[in-house]
């Protein structure tokens, strides 16, 4: 990915108030794949007894990452909106760990993009959550 495109992607994330509020950073982006991470923060805690972050914070990360994967697909004509997103929570994220999401836009039609995503804490071999989603898509035909 050329540095200017990475820079554009980074600026794009920082222009989204909700993503910026949660401290999201674009780690990788290109060809229908995006990696975004955010720091653990006390205000994300959903269970005060354990310090585990709320599922809603993980949803926000997955949604942003899914949208970014769609927008950087080679055939994408621009913006996108989430049609539906399902998240499976496999285990509690370790309190204090940075959360990282990886999303892949694995199929597009003229108007819909299909995405799979996983979220990790600092253990890269044991995902904390998985997601599948459908996003709106505006396909640019090759050669046009």
């Amino acid at each position: 990915m050329p540095p200017n495109k990475t820079e554009i992607a980074r600026q794009f994330i920082e222009a989204i108030p909700y993503s910026k509020t949660l401290g999201m950073v674009m780690d990788e982006v290109g060809d229908g794949r995006a990696v975004i991470s955010m720091p653990y923060d006390m205000h994300m805690v959903g269970d005060p007894q354990t310090g585990v972050i709320h599922g809603g914070a993980v949803s926000a990360l997955m949604d942003t990452c899914g949208g970014a994967a769609v927008m950087c697909h080679p055939l994408s004509g621009g913006g996108t909106a989430t049609i539906d997103l399902r998240i499976d929570y496999m285990r509690a994220a370790r309190p204090g760990d940075r959360i990282r999401a990886e999303a892949t836009c694995y199929h597009v039609t003229r108007s819909v993009a299909f995405v799979r995503a996983q979220a990790f804490d600092e253990d890269p071999h044991d995902p904390v959550a998985a997601a599948t989603g459908a996003f709106t898509f505006d396909r640019v035909e090759a050669g046009s």
């Binding site: 989204i16 108030p17 909700y18 959903g46 269970d47 599922g55 809603g56 949604d63 929570y89």
Partner: protein, 167 residues
């Protein structure tokens, strides 16, 4: 033929409001999102007051899908925890003082959560109500409806499954 005198309404209200407040104010994420709950008897309505930080598309502008998902999930979890607390409280096993001082009941854990985005979220307040469709000893299934200006025009709905905490 003597029934015990009904509790004074103020006692009942204080107990219920204290219980709800204890449940909601103990969760940092709920405070961070600015979510509030209104109560009519046992019926809860969640409110997400509009905040610029919830925007996901500054061009439209529209609420972030993640903020909407978070709002609906909080609504579902609190409804479940509230339903359990309600039974404890109304059977007389818990009073306001105990609730104030005691550790909060354990929160249900989300197994999965699916959000259906029907319309873009407008830059204004949002509301949600959850309905528990099935609640067993270990698992529960909850449906949530979210709306903004018109109650019969949902902007998002969600279904989730939850693992109930062991007693």
């Amino acid at each position: 033929m003597n029934r015990p005198a009904p509790e004074p309404v103020q006692v009942v209200k204080v107990r219920r409001d204290v219980a709800l407040d204890a449940l909601v104010s103990g969760v940092p994420w709920i405070t961070f999102m600015g979510i509030r709950f209104e109560r009519r008897g046992d019926e809860l309505t969640a409110i997400l007051p509009y905040a610029e930080q919830h925007i996901g598309n500054p061009m439209l502008p529209a609420l972030h899908g993640g903020a909407i998902a978070a709002f609906l999930e909080v609504t579902a979890v609190i409804e479940l925890a509230w339903a359990r607390l309600w039974d404890e409280m109304e059977s007389g096993r818990l009073d306001a003082q105990t609730i104030r001082n005691a550790a909060l009941p354990k929160m249900p854990k989300t197994i999965d959560f699916t959000v259906d985005y029907l319309r873009s979220g407008l830059p204004r307040d949002a509301y949600a109500r959850a309905r528990i469709n099935r609640s067993g000893r270990r698992y529960a299934s909850v449906h949530v409806e979210g709306w903004q200006d018109n109650r019969d025009r949902m902007f998002a709905q969600a279904t989730g499954h939850f693992l109930m905490p062991a007693d």
